[in-house]
Subunit: 142 residues, 2 copies
DNA sequence: GTTGCTGCAAAGTGTTTGCACCCTG
DNA sequence: CAGGGTGCAAACACTTTGCAGCAAC
């Protein structure tokens, strides 16, 4: 259980006149325990394993809080549901998704990043963020 | 009105025991007339301007046909709805999206493409497709 | 005790499907 | 005239919201 992330959330909560509840702790802990790209529904299943009465709506509301506090970021691989991953203490990276088994490899290629900046600048764009997903077949599925 | 695309669709239709209808022509023509990244709802509005009785469901069903026949490809900029663009006779490119005005610039950077291949290969991935979106502020909105 | 939080159910959004009738081939 | 196509409405999947009761501060 990572106390730094709990601190980040509690700081955000106290700075916004919000309250710490056992549901919010449960959602945060389940999210932190899971080192994956998790959907709201999957996170809800994890949470209810220890706190059976937590509703899906609370999970969605807490995820919004995690995003606002900078702990989580939203992903969309185009499969109809949003996914979430750790953001705090987790540097930028892109995703390579196996379309057979769903495995996701994270990677970062400094030159790709650099050329993106270059393309943006060349078009007069101020880049705020970007998203690169590579789809393919991983070596186990080939 | 581009006869090549109509030919592609009619070929696909005749090869699959399907039928050509005025609704399908209307959807295809509206799609071809519009050189943008259009949503199903927007395309439906365009179609009903000339064919008022065409239903949204038919638009979705025809879009599926366009995708299967290789005329259209699906985009998802993470705003909750899918968008579609011309694919036939339109080479690969990525998107730069202005988060202020929604303007989309298409670009292609050969080195970025090359490094993606390289990263995939390095991880034992056989790359089948990829998607790069850069979000930022365009020069008019700055 | 105030004010925010929760669970539930209902509403929303974008997309898909079932069905009776219609039209193409 | 057979079999696919259409419009409509209902169903769907995911997410958000309204509300009365509950709990943190």
């Amino acid at each position: 259980m990572s106390s730094k992330e709990i601190q980040v959330l509690e700081d955000y909560i106290s700075q916004h006149n919000l309250k710490i509840t056992k549901q919010r702790r449960a959602v945060l802990n389940a999210f932190l325990d899971c080192e994956e790209h998790i959907s709201a529904d999957e996170l809800h299943k994890l949470v209810t394993a220890t706190e059976p009465k937590v509703g899906l709506a609370t999970v969605y509301r807490t995820i919004a809080l995690l995003i606002q506090s900078g702990l989580a970021s939203e992903l969309d691989f185009g499969d109809g549901q949003k996914r979430y991953e750790h953001k705090y203490m987790h540097s930028h990276h892109d995703h390579m998704i196996c379309t057979e088994c769903g495995k996701i490899i994270e990677f970062n290629h400094p030159l790709i990043e650099k050329f993106q900046e270059e393309v943006a600048a060349r078009n007069g764009f101020t880049m705020t963020s970007h998203k690169l997903d590579i789809f393919g077949i991983c070596k186990e599925c080939r």
